[in-house]
Amino acid sequence: MKHTISVLVENKFGVLARVAGLFSARGFNISSLAVGETEDPSVSRMTIVVKGDDKILEQVKKQLNKLIDVIYVKDYIRKEHIDKELILLKIEVDKKNKTKALNIIKKSPASIVKTTADTITIEMTGTQDDIEKLLAALEGKNFRIKEMVRTGRIAMEL
């Protein structure tokens, strides 16, 4: 089971190391981690996707709260929210299958950043499901992914 949690932290030297260290020291698994400034420059937000059951989620939240530089921790369970991630993808194409690739991309929310004779670079923002669907469609047609970059999930309560 994966959970998204949002952690507001003091924008201070070493705070990322504190959070990351806590996860490794306590044996929690991070699926993704996204960090950035908030509307208040003294505060950063970490959006962390954690693997584990409810009991683990509870401990993760409590342990995070125990860190002195952590201001606030929340999860998005049973809360109306939006979550997105960004993926950049470079796939290998040739003359024969290029059109096929362009068709798959057209049917998805992805957009094309650049095409060359033998590659297409794609950008897509979406939920994890949207992104997994695109990847499955490309892999289903045996396209080789040369390079993949993902941001990790960010989320916001609505």
């Binding site: 030297f13 070493g14 504190r18 260290g21 020291a25 342990q63 709260n65 125990k66 002195i68 201001i71």
Partner: protein
């Protein structure tokens, strides 16, 4: 008023009413030591930085105040690590100050550079690397506040040498305001009501009290609760002294080497009232079989301790004393008369005991004699291993802050420097370090510190010429293959060693000499080593094998 960073540090420590600083000098802390040269602040020079951290810890546990230690950068700082980790595991308030290389050299692998904030991140409650002298006073204020409030713990301040030389306006802050740190102090009234009802409805309640009782000063409220509701009390190792063990409803310690009656009582109980304890594996044994029929109330200031290891039915987050006060105001006593009869029966059936028929001194006998000589009016510290468990089992603790022992981390070499810290805090109290011949050698160099500072610490070595607890496990679980646990060629001559340092050494080989030697040590105004030559293969019983249910103990049964 403008002051140099080093002066700001020392002035701030004075403002925090620090009674003593334990430490060791070095290159980058020279500016601090120059200020200490004529500052009105007691400084105790240890012979190893690890001992400085343990001494600060012993001082803190004995007094309830924040212990302070100071070391230089690099190896000085890394030598503090074991002491900081010890304090962290046992929630001891401590401020550790380390020197650091110049700010512009950080990260360059400079001489005696170590990333001590990185190293200590998982073993401190919080730590700081000071990068601006203008922030120094505020950081010190915060560090002391964080160390002593909520669930206490060690806080490290890393001070680059240019910060201690830089100047800033000194104005020690009066208040701390941290938006990200606001520990819950008051227990939720609704939860306290629920707890009161569960207690009223219980038939076989047991109070399981931990170190939180002593940290929060809840011993009187605990006594009121136990006596008013007639509920037997067992404590953890760190909870010892939180409830008088001379009382008929005391069950002494529970867990791996706890009393059989405490372990049976917990297993039979229908309500566990856990206060300031954390359901450590040495206490619970096999988790699924820990108090299988009991509802659990858990009072603790640290929310992350609640439902971490066992499922808790009624959690109450808050300060133990505050919660118990409120609970005592509304509590109605359950009828525990039958339960107390059962408890009395268990205590009679499974007393703590040992075979004392031979001529050789039994280690348990030594501990009993230390109790007889002091009647509980002493500070007992321990090393780790068999000495620690016998000190827990065969001495009767009646007052808080009289038993100082490394529980969570289990640090050999803790007891002697901790005894030094306690003796610095209370020069006139009798202080005993109950030690083993193995552990004492881990910080034996502190004999110099004790003697030079005229600290009449008594070290009782239960000398069995082996690493007893590990040897015991090898005897029971590794077919007596005593791999590197027996000092075949013997120990150093502890009596001569004591004398070499200017301390007093007394070797005791006969049972009838035990009590007189203890009496002589107490009367001696110098540091004393009592070298008790005890039975080599004596074991600590009862014992719950690791991972077994706590009611299935081996040894020491009727």
């Amino acid at each position: 008023m403008k002051l140099k960073g080093a002066n700001i540090l020392v002035e701030s420590l004075i403002k925090e009413k620090v009674g003593a600083v334990f430490g060791y000098p070095g290159g980058v802390v020279l500016p601090i030591f120059d200020v200490l040269y004529d500052a009105p602040l007691k400084f105790i020079l240890t012979r190893h930085e690890q001992a400085a951290a343990h001494a600060a810890d012993g001082y803190a546990r004995a007094t309830g105040e924040v212990g302070v230690c100071l070391a230089t950068s690099g190896p000085g700082a890394t030598n503090l690590v074991t002491g900081i980790a010890t304090a962290y595991m046992d929630s001891v308030p401590m401020v550790a100050i380390t020197g650091q290389v110049k700010t512009n050299l950080i990260g360059s692998d400079a001489f005696q550079e170590a990333d001590i904030t990185g190293i200590t991140r998982p073993i401190t409650k919080h730590n700081y690397l000071v990068k601006d002298v203008n922030e120094l006073a505020g950081i010190i204020k915060e560090a002391f506040y964080v160390a002593r409030s909520g669930r206490p713990g060690p806080v490290l301040i890393d001070l680059p040498v240019d910060i201690t030389l830089g100047e800033a306006e000194f104005d020690y802050p009066k208040k701390v305001n941290m938006r990200s740190y606001k520990p819950t102090f008051s227990g939720h009234p609704g939860q306290i009501k629920k707890a009161a009802k569960a207690i009223k409805d219980s038939h076989k309640p047991v109070i399981y009290a931990g170190g939180g009782i002593i940290i929060s000063g809840a011993e009187e409220e605990l006594f009121k609760l136990a006596k008013k509701a007639l509920i037997p009390v067992t404590t953890t190792l760190l909870g010892m002294g939180g409830f008088p063990e001379t009382d008929p409803i005391s069950l002494k310690m529970l867990g791996m080497h706890g009393t059989a009656y405490a372990n049976h009582a917990v297993t039979e109980s229908d309500l566990i009232i856990a206060i300031g304890a954390r359901f450590d594996d040495r206490v619970t044994g096999k988790l699924d079989e820990f108090a299988p029929n009991a509802k659990i109330i858990h009072i603790d200031i640290d929310p992350s301790s609640v439902s971490k290891n066992v499922h808790v039915h009624i959690p109450i987050v808050g300060d133990a004393r505050d919660v118990l006060q409120k609970l005592n105001n509304i509590i109605k006593a359950p009828d525990t008369s039958k339960w107390l009869e059962r408890i009395a029966h268990l205590k009679k059936q499974y007393p703590l005991k040992y075979d004392d028929t031979g001529d050789i001194i039994k280690p348990q006998y030594v501990v009993e004699q230390i109790y007889e000589a002091t009647k509980g009016d002493a500070i007992i510290t321990t090393e780790v291993g068999q000495n620690q468990m016998w000190a827990a089992q065969f001495y009767k603790y009646t007052l808080p802050r009289t038993f100082l022992s490394s529980g969570g981390l289990g640090t050999m070499g803790y007891g002697f420097p901790a005894a030094i810290g306690a003796q610095v805090a209370y020069p006139n109290k009798t202080v005993f370090d109950i030690a083993g011949d193995g552990s004492i050698q881990m910080n034996i160099q502190e004999l110099a510190t004790a003697v030079i500072n005229k600290l009449p610490v008594n070290i009782a070595i239960l000398n069995n010429c082996c690493l007893g607890m590990v040897r015991q496990w090898q005897e029971l679980f590794y077919k007596k293959r005593y791999s590197h646990t027996c000092f075949v060629s013997g120990c150093p001559d502890f009596v001569k060693l004591a004398e070499a340092y200017g301390a007093v050494g007394i070797r005791v080989t006969k049972k009838e000499d035990v009590a007189p030697a203890i009496k002589k040590a107490i009367e001696t105004k110098n540091t004393v080593i009592l070298d008790f030559i005890v039975e080599n293969e004596e074991n600590v019983f009862p014992m719950v094998p690791a991972g077994e249910a706590i009611n299935r103990m081996i040894g020491g049964m009727a």
